[in-house]
């Protein structure tokens, strides 16, 4: 079997590695226009910050690919002929395949702002984006970042580390309002303030203004304000790269449409990761998942189907993590910005504003825990996964909270404070803390 994978991001590479395990004799080819070698997209910011060199964000050393017989092609896939099972490349040759995986990822969204084509205006998704940013931010004194999401805060951190004054434009009333409850967003705002980021909420970009050299000179906001800046970062989300599949005749909507086995409408053509849109997402799930983790899960799942072991995509309890300047964020299960009907929420916050823990749980008799937000606290994924799958009552979770503590040794333990606060807020569900973490041990 020859498996051809378009895209060498986390989805394509995970699929390749899984297929290599399942079918040691399969021929596997990875095509990427962006870079010859797989790299970690979430790590782009660390190269700019100077924490890492470009080669340090490659998850595998260069010998890895040849030793595992994974063929790498550095070219753009221009067209797919699903009837003949061929893919033509920008460099000339045409590749034939038995199975084709589209893992083409996504691209930064644009809102057709006047001036968005000016020099010094860009997003940060790809390696070429990073190179442009690296080149274009020399000598920049002021920058504007548009979008109150994860990339927006990353851009703000990158720029402010270079002593560039940053204004962040956020459409909503608080940071990442589509995901974070207000209390969590307030802690992120504290971080932004501590790092001197000027955040303008309820404000959008109206227009980008040029100078004589067609470089950005300033932006005008929807509030009518003109902000001088020499660089603009656009980070209002990403959209699936579906054009290649669309041109080949695959059914697409916002993304490439796939069934629960991640198959497209074309025979032997699959799509996974950022570019895929599920036709029938499970209840409460989104149709397009654009996360490193979900990309990895989908790549692994589709590999099984490709190797003749049809496997439905079942992600299991949601999880995600991020870091907002110095504030780490982990979430397990679902904690929507607004408390869903039929659920209670409990939120504990340390007076310093550097630690927060929120638990959502069902208001019925099960008291089953449905989600956790942790800021400035590290929580153990395996333990939370079990609690969420089992629908463990919040009272049991709190009593056993020490078992989920993943903070390093000698860190202050907050479980007793958390339980005390819960008992004050929900005296009808009394909890006694049974499990603290030992100083030098875990798993008692």
């Amino acid at each position: 079997m020859h498996l051809l994978i378009i895209g060498n991001g986390i989805t394509g590479v995970t699929c390749a590695l899984t297929v290599r395990q399942l079918q040691p004799t399969a021929r596997i080819t990875l095509v990427s226009e962006e870079s010859l070698h797989h790299f970690s997209r979430p790590a782009l910011m660390y190269v700019y910050l100077g924490h890492l060199r470009p080669q340090d964000i490659k998850p595998y050393e260069d010998w890895f690919w040849a030793e595992n017989r994974l063929e790498l092609v550095h070219a753009r896939a221009t067209t797919i002929d699903a009837g003949r099972k061929t893919v033509s490349l920008s460099t000339g040759p045409t590749l034939t395949y038995d199975k084709l995986l589209l893992a083409t990822g996504s691209a930064g969204r644009r809102a057709n702002w006047p001036g968005q084509e000016l020099a010094g205006v860009q997003g940060l998704v790809t390696l070429p984006d990073l190179e442009r940013m690296t080149r274009d931010t020399h000598g920049v004194r002021e920058a504007v970042v548009v979008g109150g999401g994860l990339i927006g805060v990353e851009l703000a951190e990158m720029l402010s580390a270079k002593n560039i004054a940053v204004t962040l434009l956020v459409r909503e009333t608080h940071y990442w309002a589509s995901v974070l409850p207000a209390q969590e967003a307030a802690l992120v705002q504290q971080q932004l303030a501590a790092h001197h980021i000027n955040v303008q909420y309820r404000t959008q970009l109206a227009k980008i203004l040029p100078d004589a050299q067609r470089r950005v000179r300033a932006v005008r906001t929807t509030q009518g304000q003109e902000l001088p800046c020499q660089w603009v970062g656009l980070s209002i989300g990403v959209e699936p790269n579906r054009q290649l599949a669309q041109a080949a005749g695959a059914e697409t909507d916002r993304g490439i449409l796939v069934d629960e086995y991640l198959q497209t409408s074309l025979p032997d053509v699959y799509a996974a990761g950022d570019c895929a849109q599920h036709r029938r997402p499970e209840a409460g799930e989104v149709a397009i998942e654009q996360l490193w983790y979900t990309g990895r899960h989908q790549g692994e799942t589709v590999a099984h189907t490709i190797c003749g072991q049809p496997t439905r995509y079942q992600r299991g309890p949601w999880y995600n993590s991020a870091k907002f300047f110095d504030l780490e964020y982990q979430t397990y299960g679902r904690v929507p910005a607004q408390v869903p009907p039929g659920e209670h929420t409990f939120c504990w916050q340390h007076p310093s504003g550097r630690h927060l823990l929120r638990l959502n749980f069902r208001s019925d008799t099960t008291l089953a825990v449905t989600g956790l937000n942790a800021l400035g606290l590290r929580q153990r994924h395996d333990v939370w996964d079990q609690w969420l799958r089992a629908g463990t009552p919040v009272t049991t979770v709190l009593a056993e909270l020490g078992a989920a503590n993943f903070d390093p040794e000698f860190y202050r333990q907050h479980e007793a404070d958390v339980v005390r606060a819960f008992n004050q807020q929900y005296p009808q569900h009394p909890v006694t803390l049974r499990r603290r973490r030992g100083l030098f041990s875990f798993r008692s």
Binding site: G50, H51, L52, D56, S321, R378, H381, D382
Partner: protein
């Protein structure tokens, strides 16, 4: 802190060539870059920073008149003013750099600055450090009349301190010990500022500062003042290889007196053969390498700006295994031969002085000669000249990783008989590489983290920086039951594809 004469031989050439191979392969691997990018802007240096660095520069400059001024009083004054400026400048710089921003992990521009990114300043620093070690080890021995070669004035500037502490005049090793301790304390202060969000890093840094000052500086000096052997209670065989040589043992028993001498020998043996396995079983090798050891203490403080320079490649790992275990085997063999010789269990030739004509070995028995060769190449050249001199080019743990027999011994225990591991948090790894980058021992930590596997490596000294810098809260140093120690997370399918052959 070893005291051996300079010499060259065929063995030296071979050893150097082996070393050179490591370095050549290391540097070749460094240059395999295919994700090329222009250089990002570097944060401008502020006026305050320049002023504080000026203090450091003036301090360095003032050491010159100390070395060459004929007036001993003035030289001494210059010396202490120089140390004061160096310390104040460095601590002030650290407080300014890490203190004015909110507490957090600050690694900005690490690879972009020449001083920490193998730039010209790093080369210069390496040449100066290496040169200092060469002069110290081979050109500054007492000529019998209290002259210490090029370091003479520096040594004598310390006479009052040495007299106060040890009731002995200073020598070149006291000068070295003073510089070493000062480096650990001052750069330890910097580390305390830098890592202040992490209680683990703070406590650990205080620990290495305490053991260097107390156990490797004050206590040995005090022993000397009391006319006792200058014993270091924080160094053990096989790192301090001669502490269990028959010659040292009999000297300690004689000069230490019936109580203290016996205690010293007992302490050394118990620490090497009982405390080391027991403590490593419970806590991993970190209890020593990154909490107590002086070499580790210097690496964790003065070497901290260079920790990311260690080579993470598979090839470097192969060199590590090729070098460190044979060195452990060699010192075990030498120690065994010395004891067998002392017990008269070896044929006479082994313990009879020979006139071999080889400069280093002249007049020594073959067994003693072997010990001397080891001390010269491993103890002096590897541990000192390369181990510290090459900090700015190869990272802070070259000796610990490639050469130290104690690290090899602790590593074997950690790998096979310990409750220690670094746990990976489920599926949360994003393969960003910050953990691998910061690992001073050159472990490619993310190879394990991205598979959801715990990290159990002989090399790991448990400094905890991978956990500190992880932006997703993925890594944690833990001690737990040995059952299931290698068990990976169920939330990520660990690829069985080989990362090592």
């Amino acid at each position: 802190m070893r005291k051996l004469p300079a010499v060259t031989s065929g063995l030296a050439d071979r050893a150097f060539r082996a070393e050179a191979n490591v370095f050549v392969s290391v540097f070749c691997l460094m240059s395999t870059v295919s994700l090329a990018a222009p250089t990002p802007p570097v944060t401008p240096v502020s006026g305050v920073e320049k002023a504080l660095l000026t203090l450091v520069g003036l301090g360095l400059l003032l050491l010159l008149p100390v070395a060459f001024d004929a007036d001993a009083e003035r030289a001494r004054l210059c010396f202490f003013v120089a140390l004061g400026l160096l310390s104040a400048g460095t601590l002030g710089w650290a407080a300014f750099t890490f203190g004015r921003k909110p507490a957090g992990v600050r690694q900005d521009n690490l690879w972009l600055r020449g001083s920490t990114g193998r730039g010209s300043l790093a080369w210069l620093t390496a040449v100066v450090l290496t040169g200092f070690y060469v002069v110290l080890y081979w050109f500054s021995a007492d000529d019998g009349q209290g002259n210490f070669g090029p370091l003479n004035q520096l040594v004598h500037a310390l006479d009052p301190l040495s007299q106060a502490l040890r009731r002995h005049p200073a020598d070149q090793w006291f000068l070295y010990g003073t510089f070493y301790t000062l480096a650990v304390l001052v750069m330890g202060g910097r580390a305390l500022w830098k890592y202040r969000p992490s209680p683990y890093q703070q406590i650990r840094t205080v620990s290495v500062m305490f053991f260097q000052l107390g156990f490797a500086f004050l206590l040995p000096g005090l022993m000397l003042a009391l006319q006792r052997p200058e014993y270091y209670f924080s160094y053990f065989w096989p790192l301090k290889q001669d502490y269990l040589f028959p010659g040292t043992v009999s000297y300690l028993l004689k000069d230490g007196g019936p109580g203290l001498g016996v205690f010293m020998v007992f302490w050394g043996a118990v620490m090497s053969f009982l405390a080391t396995p027991v403590l490593t079983y419970f806590f991993g090798k970190r209890w020593y390498c990154s909490w107590v050891c002086g070499c580790g203490g210097l690496a964790e403080t003065a070497g901290d700006p260079y920790r990311h320079l260690s080579d993470k490649s598979r090839e470097a790992w192969r060199w590590e295994v090729r070098l460190i275990y044979p060195i452990l085997g060699l010192i075990v063999l030498i120690t065994a031969l010395l004891w067998l010789g002392a017990a008269g269990a070896l044929p006479g030739w082994f313990t009879t002085p020979q006139q071999s004509g080889v400069p280093l070995l002249g007049g020594l028995s073959p067994v003693d000669g072997l010990g001397k060769v080891y001390g010269f190449f491993i103890g002096s050249i590897f541990a000192g000249v390369i181990g510290v001199g090459f900090y700015p080019l190869m990272g802070s743990r070259v000796w610990c990783r490639f050469g130290c027999p104690m690290a090899a011994y602790l590593g074997l225990l950690q790998k096979h008989f310990s409750r220690f591991r670094i746990t990976t948090n489920g599926g949360q790894c994003i393969s960003c590489g910050n953990c691998s980058n910061i690992c001073e021992m050159g472990i490619d930590v993310k190879q394990y983290a991205q598979r959801g596997e715990p990290i159990i490596r002989a090399a790991c000294v448990g400094c905890g920086l991978c956990s500190t810098v992880c932006p997703r809260g993925v890594l944690n140093l833990e001690n737990g039951p040995r059952e299931g120690r290698y068990q990976g997370s169920q939330l990520i399918t660990a690829e069985s594809l080989r990362i090592l052959s």
